[in-house]
């Protein structure tokens, strides 16, 4: 078995409008291009998340412009901001109401580690109570970093064995190729050269 499995609509029979592919690849392709985020904006990162959705950065280019405030209709929870212990129960309840397959992005320093809030009140990273797929550094992250995290997640979704995963009781579907692990986006978007 080869290390890397070719995925996607990579075979086309010319002039007959027929595409040959695997079901997993087709399902993954549809899923990754329609990731509907749930904007769990808890603090200032929520404002930066709005910039990601607005025209300059335009998350619609990646099929993720449909921000859903209902957990029933969303696939990706973007925890944007500082999560205090009192809020943790609410975030967890919303997460539990999301339908599978679901993903979690910890946007910014606070959501990833508690950030500068080394305090009795702040959860020291939402991965204490959520299975985080993507961590994004920054305080707040640049919108490009959020988009990079989304693209990395899309790559991961494309690796999933979607149909096989439906039968699995585990949260994360089994993957082709590399096993799933948390993605860490360093988010170094400092302008190069003279300003």
């Amino acid at each position: 078995m080869s290390e890397r499995v070719e995925l996607g609509f990579d075979q086309k029979v010319e002039s007959r409008d027929i595409i040959i592919t695997r079901v997993d690849a087709a399902v993954d392709w549809m899923r990754k291009n329609s990731v509907w985020p749930l904007p769990m904006g808890l603090a200032c990162c929520g404002i930066e998340l709005m910039a990601v959705g607005a025209s300059r950065f335009d998350i619609a280019r990646f099929g993720a412009e449909v921000m859903r405030f209902s957990p029933r209709q969303s696939d990706l929870m973007i925890v944007a901001g500082t999560c205090v212990y009192k809020m943790a129960g609410v975030v967890r309840r919303v997460w539990d109401q999301m339908a599978q397959p679901k993903y979690c992005m910890a946007m910014g320093a606070c959501a990833s580690t508690g950030g500068m809030y080394r305090s009795y009140a702040v959860v020291q990273g939402v991965d204490r109570f959520l299975p985080v797929d993507v961590y994004i550094s920054g305080c707040p992250p640049r919108p490009e970093a959020v988009l990079e995290g989304l693209m990395a997640l899309q790559n991961q979704i494309q690796q999933e064995a979607a149909i096989k995963g439906m039968k699995s009781s585990e949260r994360s579907a089994p993957t082709y190729g590399q096993p799933r692990g948390p993605i860490i986006i360093r988010g170094d978007y400092a302008p190069k050269g003279k300003a």
Binding site: Y85, A88, R118, A121, Q124, F129
Partner: protein, 200 residues
């Protein structure tokens, strides 16, 4: 009515009013705080309670204070009331009957300092969760927090632990020679004090 005459007739007044940079502060007998507030609102036009908060003067007796910031919109004047309460008897009469806005402020003072307010309609925690065992704004409480139970979430299996503080970016040393020395470090004294108190 000038502020001086208002203060002269103030029920439960303790000592002379202190004036600092145009702000007037009056000490009030803790048992007469509601009478004083009623008088100030009804007769002197202090229709707005701007803030109500607790203060922990750790190491002094009486240890706690409650501060009332009043404002009269009509007279354009401010007045600050202070009452002292000792650690043994943390009970104050609620002023929610005078200004309804005192409700949440008193809940906060209860949550953060453990000061209880008599006749409060709904005295429960407002910032920390129900069942949290400490009052975190007390000076002997470590900033990093102490382990506690957190039910109904899966945060570390229902447990809250202290935040990792070492090298934490919180307490800046003032007056140090270089910025490397001034660089914020964790102030462990609060945590150490708490541990000593708990063990003795």
């Amino acid at each position: 009515m000038t502020l001086a005459t208002v203060i002269e007739k103030l029920p439960g007044r303790i000592g002379e009013p202190v004036e600092f940079r145009g702000e007037t502060t009056v000490g009030i007998d803790r048992t007469q705080i509601v009478e004083a507030c009623r008088y100030l609102k009804a007769d002197c036009g202090f229709d707005m309670l701007v803030d109500l908060s607790g203060v922990d003067n750790y190491g002094t007796d009486p240890r706690f204070e409650v501060v009332y910031e009043l404002c009269s919109l009509a007279n354009r004047s401010h007045l600050r009331l202070k009452i002292s309460i000792s650690e043994d008897d943390l009970l104050v009469d609620s002023v929610t009957g005078v200004w309804r806005t005192a409700d949440w402020h008193e809940r906060e003072a209860f949550d953060m300092f453990g000061i209880r307010f008599r006749n409060h309609p709904n005295l429960k925690r407002i910032l920390m969760w129900d069942g949290y065992p400490y009052h975190p704004l007390r000076k002997d409480f470590p900033l990093a927090g102490l382990p506690a139970e957190l039910p109904e979430t899966a945060v570390d299996a229902g447990k809250v632990n202290s935040a990792a503080m070492h090298g934490g970016p919180f307490v800046t040393a003032p007056g140090a020679a270089t910025s490397a020395k001034r660089e914020p470090r964790q102030n462990d004294t609060a945590a150490e004090r708490f541990e000593k108190k708990g063990s003795s």
